[in-house]
Symmetry: C2
């Protein structure tokens, strides 16, 4: 948004390559664990170019975080709307979150590592945009409860639990693999995961069967 001007297609290619490489490298080890030299190698560029485009390691990291947070919000939030029956809405939300965790596990891990260390850079997002989204989605849940479509619950906590369960298949993927004794998670494993999470959420919230 500031630093060197935004024009030029070579610039676009380079910054895109750097951001993709940075997401890969930050995904293992977080901010402190990543080396600028690793990111440069991953992007196939000299290290100096990273500083030319992004100035400092922290500014590059912030750029990566920003991309992730944007995707986080777009991903699934429009499933939770009052017109939809809760069974369909919640199941769709869970499936979208699980699909996101599988599609971009690195993004999920970077987000998790940032929150783990106290979210120094994400705090404004958590207290602002995310809080408002949760309040809006919570109102929908309360609407469903009031209409007898599901149990009365603590809506925010239900979302914390959904996020925890879906993200665990990205963030703790190696633990899941190790415990199941797999080299990597099969499609069947992910189907079992989806079935389990969906059942816990729908039956756990007493959602009346979809029609």
């Amino acid at each position: 948004m500031d630093s060197p001007p935004e024009t030029g297609t070579a610039r676009r290619d380079s910054t895109a390559a750097i951001l993709a490489a940075a997401e890969t490298v930050f995904a293992r080890g977080g901010f402190e664990g990543a080396r600028m030299s690793e990111i440069a190698a991953e992007a196939g560029l000299p290290k100096a170019n990273l500083h030319y485009y992004f100035g400092t390691k922290e500014r590059l990291y912030r750029a990566v975080l920003e991309r992730i947070v944007t995707a986080w919000l777009d991903a699934a939030s429009d499933w939770i709307v009052p017109e939809r029956p809760p069974a369909e809405a919640l199941a769709g939300y869970v499936r979208a979150k699980l699909a996101d965790a599988q599609a971009r596990p690195g993004a999920s891990r970077i987000f998790a590592a940032e929150v783990l260390r106290g979210a120094p850079l994400l705090m404004p997002f958590l207290q602002g945009e995310l809080r408002r989204r949760v309040q809006a989605m919570s109102a929908v849940i309360e609407h469903w409860s009031a209409h007898g479509l599901m149990d009365t619950v603590h809506p925010a906590h239900v979302f914390f639990c959904i996020w925890a369960m879906t993200q665990t298949y990205a963030d703790f993927g190696v633990q899941v693999q190790a415990v199941l004794g797999r080299d990597r998670l099969s499609a069947q494993d992910m189907a079992d995961a989806a079935a389990t999470v969906t059942a816990l959420v729908l039956k756990g919230c007493g959602v009346r069967a979809a029609m």
Copy 2:
């Protein structure tokens, strides 16, 4: 277990102080984010003493991890036994895990950070001891299902979900606080969390009401 001999009470005091300080400092930032000088300051000892007792930063980190893993296993695993009714057993297990997350959030975060970066040091534990424990607990779940005390589920995935939900209140505590708009989580917040997780697990698994 190796390096300097294990006798002497001054040694016991120093190593205990260092391990406690290390757990605090590793809890924010993980292995790479921690500075030996921070740990020394936190323990009130000169930095050189850390190296005298533990040799390297990695060996100190391993010692901290070992303590955490031991506690992890002791914490709650004896709740899941076939004699107990599943409602009581699963509710007790969830409560014990949540209490553990509240009592030692730093330990939970260190474990999470280690798994996040691919669990290079924990892999033997995950594939060995933890896998065996899950297999044993899964057999109990299947026993309950076979006796009509609860639905037929994917037992391992149920445990992944329980761990995810309970640990999120330690590992992602700042996110929970931010979204709820709190300075810190109140006793009421934690009671709501416990109620939500317990409901999702018990109703989600179709556990027949306790008698």
